[in-house]
Point group: C2
Chain length 207, copies 2
Amino acid sequence: VRGLLDFSIYLDLSDEVKIAWKIQRDMAERGHTLADVKQAIASRRPDFEAYIDPQKAHADVVIQILPTNLITNDTERKVLRVRLIQRSDVKGLEPAYLFDQGSTISWIPCGTKLTCSYPGIKLFSGPDSWCGQPASVLEIDGQFDRLEEIAYIENHLSSINTKFYGELTQLLLKNPDYPGSNSGTGLLQIIVGLKMRATFEQSMTIE
Amino acid sequence: VRGLLDFSIYLDLSDEVKIAWKIQRDMAERGHTLADVKQAIASRRPDFEAYIDPQKAHADVVIQILPTNLITNDTERKVLRVRLIQRSDVKGLEPAYLFDQGSTISWIPCGTKLTCSYPGIKLFSGPDSWCGQPASVLEIDGQFDRLEEIAYIENHLSSINTKFYGELTQLLLKNPDYPGSNSGTGLLQIIVGLKMRATFEQSMTIE
């Protein structure tokens, strides 16, 4: 089946975040106990490890959801560090990056250009590897306060497959109430969407 | 006397580097013992602390020479981390920065654009403070192999008071044999020179 896919995405949720989310949904919303939640995750682990997890080595891009590095010993898991891992050897997929292609950059945006309340925001971009293959990473840790200010971030991003300057910011502003719109989860999902569109349009041109 | 200065520079040599340099010069070149070297530094310390060190709070820019962070437990002190500290409240002095003004950026340049042998190079730029006053820092840790490739670094530097694109690289290439020309010591000294020139030319215009 894998050969039929033009573009594949794997969502890689870290255990810390998975458990925090399940506790939030199953305990707060469905009335389960903490023991129920941990039991439910444990019972699915063998199937997960046999059938789901191995898929991540074959994905063109991976979105990883990790605990933040901005808060020491964070247990709330409300602030997330989201990584977009882009395989380097996928034809037609140009990895998105910050400032300068091939460089390893960590960036705390200027506080007067991007309003951020505690714990702020930190971005990262650079070469890395994924399951033994070369990859490019774009990471966003933390969150921002005003969606319209994301034009400032967009201005320093390249290879995001927008059709006009500011399209990323416009897409984000279309659905300001979506969960994650003010953090890496929303922003990196939109970038993946733009890359899917580019792959789709490329495949249409070839046919 | 301080009021007569249009532009003031303080060279802030860390003790680790000072001792390593003195050992190199006084032991290897002048035949002194390690005890002599340590004694010479110790005997000057009271005067240094009374008259020299307090000047650093009044300098417009400070060049700090520190041990590298690129080698764990480095004792050779051949690789240096050089910081240019630029006071924010000095009229007419626009601080040099990397990529985006006001941002805090750490940058490992792309290895295909800048050739660096071990331990490589890492740059930093961002707001900071100096003796209780706001300041901007530009830091270069490590060294590069080919002077002509510095055009790539220059391309991502702003507010360096050059008169034409590439002037920084040209100035560096004029004296390739100067000690420190392939590291932050030479590069940041040239930037300070360009800022001195700008201050001089401004003061000429005003008179």
